[in-house]
Amino acid sequence: MAQSDMDATNMVSLPALLRRNAANFGSSAAFREKEFGIWQTWSWSKALNEAESLALGLIELGIQPGDFVAILGRNRPDLYISMVAIQMAGATPVPQYQDSVAEEMEYVLAHCGAKFVVAGDQEQVDKVLEIQSNLPDFEQMIYLDGRGLRKYDHSKLHSFASVMENGKNSGQNSKSTLKDRENALTYDSTCVMLYTSGTTGRPKGVVLSNANIIETAKTTCEFDDLKKTDEIVAYLPMAWIGDFIFSVGQAMWSGFCVNCPESADTLSTDLREIGPTYYFAPPRVFEMQLTDVMIRMEDSGRFKKWLFDYFMEHARHVGGNILDGKSVGFGSRIKYFLGDLAVYGPLKNTLGLSKVRVGYTAGEAIGPEIFEFYRSLGINLKQLYGQTEASVYITQQPDGEVRGDTVGVPTPGVEVRIGDNGEVYYKSPGTFVEYYKNPESTAETKDPEGWVATGDAGFFEEDTGHLRIIDRAKDVSKMSDGSMFAPKYVENKLKFYPNILESVVFGAGKERCVAFINIDLSAVGNWAERNNIAYSSYQELAGHPKVLETIQSHVEEVNASIAKDKMLAGCQVHRFLVLHKELDADDGELTRTRKVRRKIIAEKFEDLINALYDGSSSIYTETEVTYEDGRKGKISATLQIKDATTNSVADLAAQ
């Protein structure tokens, strides 16, 4: 786009990008949201108008440069627009995870000293009101959806519409203040502050500058040729850097449209209606979709099932190659074409992925079967590797060089090196400024030359130059006999079974490995239904002897596959148990991005780990759980402990 190149040099902040877009293609769609059953559109000009009014409204409310404004709520155009408006007014937006409980929120809001809060609805407003006595800096709150708030004390509460209205009617004074503050924004001003999910300890506030976000958006839009005609669906938490880069950074840079679903429950329908061309989902979402498809195929008629199996088998062989443009026989192409008519096309349509031109997954390792499944359908799904501190991108896979076990080559502009201990380091234009109010951690993570430690262990493949990640560097350790212990590696293999939702493997410094397993309620529940197995709760199903048998067979298959790898053969799971509750972020066992918090789990379920090692065949345990509304309760259960067969490397060699 010639126009954007022309004035690219002045594009030093999000408000500047918004103004450029409104000037260059003001009538194109910037945001859409489904509301009242209809997709409502915000054009770039409307988005700019709203942002200006809101920024003026915030100034009227007394916002000062350098203030922090927390954003709480699900993905909505008004919230995205308010992030730009906040920047216009000289302040910094701090998006939050909308499902975090009040006490988690309290830490973050108190840490950044947020003076203003923009909340989506009553639920979020209630959370802030609950903790406001511990937030000395908190001054005003703005809400979008006023339902249920009519009788609240409005001395600190304002509706979004009223703030905008005030902004529109504000005097010349505020307008010139706004102009001054906007002009004062530079490439080095803070663009956004995002809190890391904190696999270890308290969340840290990552300060990202305009340069970080805009430079990253620029190079990555070029990398995948993202244009203003692209469409994305924004459904991942706004507090996550990925959503900020995709739905704000890249969307503002290339001018594509961000679509917000009607509610979390309608996501699949909304995806189908929009048909995004650029799509991101963590492996979990792909896993759940695949599980869902498989369950529905199990329930379908014999002919449909046969048709599905037949063509999917064919797709497994040639689908990926066709996508990569490799040579495939004429007959196979014809057959793939037929399969596309009968199975792949309709399936992609059902998943809402028909139009996906560029798809990414990241955050965790994705199962090779799952990855191949989507690619074989003709969906250009790729992997990238990144973190909040890098404004996401460290490495990514170029078209045609996509593989399940690597995370690609360094993104343009990013330098990557491997440390002596195998840890991955990078240096890039997207490298964060600092951890807010935490110079020690900043110094620990980022050295004076700008190299950042990722905390992940990995290596470059010599022949392809692709990076492979093994595990978190600090999780990789030694077992008592000195062999390597990489829990994530084993857990991922276990999680690739649809029946297993989550697993945690222990074994550092021990002779043998043991595992906790969480079953996937939808997959196992469906299986139980088909086999006439009655159950009343998650706990009961998890303890069912037949379920344990199935899980045992999965564990043993994983053991067999691990045994083939000499370096990691020691990580085979000797004993395991199926947990009586789902690991949950509300109980602190997972992070909000659903990563396992190993240490906390080990402390909380110490009795279970001991039982796994002391040879007992069952154990009684009581666990405290937190309900969604913050109340606590206790569940107790007697868990069966199972032994799994393991294979010695020597046996396999003999075979």
Binding site: E35, F36, G37, I38, R147, G148, R150, K151, E262, S263, D265, T266, T269
Partner: protein, 271 residues
């Protein structure tokens, strides 16, 4: 106590003027007297609960309010005027809507279509113009659809908008019924056991919605409910019935401490 003035309850809340007044109602089915000489009123903007043990005559009372039963004795005043015996659809036009104890939805139709039936009394286009779908009929449908969509959004049932009702679980069906009643934009909403058969979570959701309806649209609500916890938390005033008679009337606290009510619920010794 003046009928047109605001009224302050014993626990200090202010509620509006009388909307509906039942005076000395007696209802008989042949030899059975379901309701004996009951008098009570419903005030603007309040949540009014009717409680009582099984067979106390609560549902009959609600049916008298909705105009479905015509009492043999007594008078019903609606907005200060005596109401003659009317057909249920006329009651609906006056701005009274209800839900049923046993769900009465059209099972084969989608949620949206069911909710749209709540707008039926407001549709004026003739059968012919509806059939050819031109002009007024189309415009009317669009307007009514918008109102229904607001209700769907309000009750958070967007994800089942197109789902046939027969495929929904019980708790959601109850919510769809509430949606249909709300779609007619009632001034007075009658809920016959809105929480019967629900689990704790569903009850919490439903309570939230009832409060929100009352708060957001200012709808006056009369409800029958068995769950005492819910009734005491939700309602502004409570009428207690037993064997067709009124044995208590007042704020939840007043009713809770009323000896007749305690006896009716816990039983009383006969020695």
């Amino acid at each position: 106590m003046n009928n047109t003035d605001d009224y302050v309850t014993a626990d200090g809340r202010t509620i509006g003027a009388v909307v509906m007044e039942m005076k000395n109602i007696t209802l008989r089915f042949g030899g059975v007297t379901a309701i004996k000489d009951i008098t009570f009123d419903i005030r603007e903007g309040e949540i009014r609960a009717i409680i009582g043990p099984n067979g106390a005559g609560k549902s009959s009372m609600l049916n008298v309010v909705s105009g479905f039963y015509v009492p043999q004795e007594g008078e019903v005043f609606f907005r200060g005027e005596k109401r003659p015996p009317v057909k249920p659809f006329e009651v609906a036009r006056q701005g009274i809507a209800r839900t049923f104890q046993n769900i009465a939805l059209f099972e084969g139709m989608s949620v949206l279509d069911n909710v749209m039936t709540g707008r039926l009394t407001q549709m004026k286009a003739g059968i012919f113009s509806q059939a050819i779908w031109r002009g007024k009929a189309e415009q009317e449908e669009v307007e009514n659809r918008e109102i229904c969509e607001r209700v769907i959004d309000f009750l958070e049932i967007q994800s089942i908008r197109k789902t046939p009702v027969s495929r929904l679980p019980y708790g959601l069906k109850k919510r769809v019924e509430l949606a249909r009643a709300l779609a007619s934009e009632p001034k007075l909403l009658l809920l016959d056991e809105p929480m019967a058969g629900m689990n704790v979570e569903e009850k919490e959701d439903m309570s939230r919605f009832i409060l929100d309806v009352n708060d957001e649209f200012g709808t006056t609500i009369a409800l029958i409910e068995h769950d005492m916890g819910v009734v005491m938390d939700l309602s502004d005033r409570v009428v207690v019935m037993d064997y067709g008679k009124k044995i208590g009337d007042g704020t939840p606290d007043e009713v809770r401490n009323n000896q007749a009510v305690i006896d009716a619920y816990l039983g009383v010794s006969h020695d």
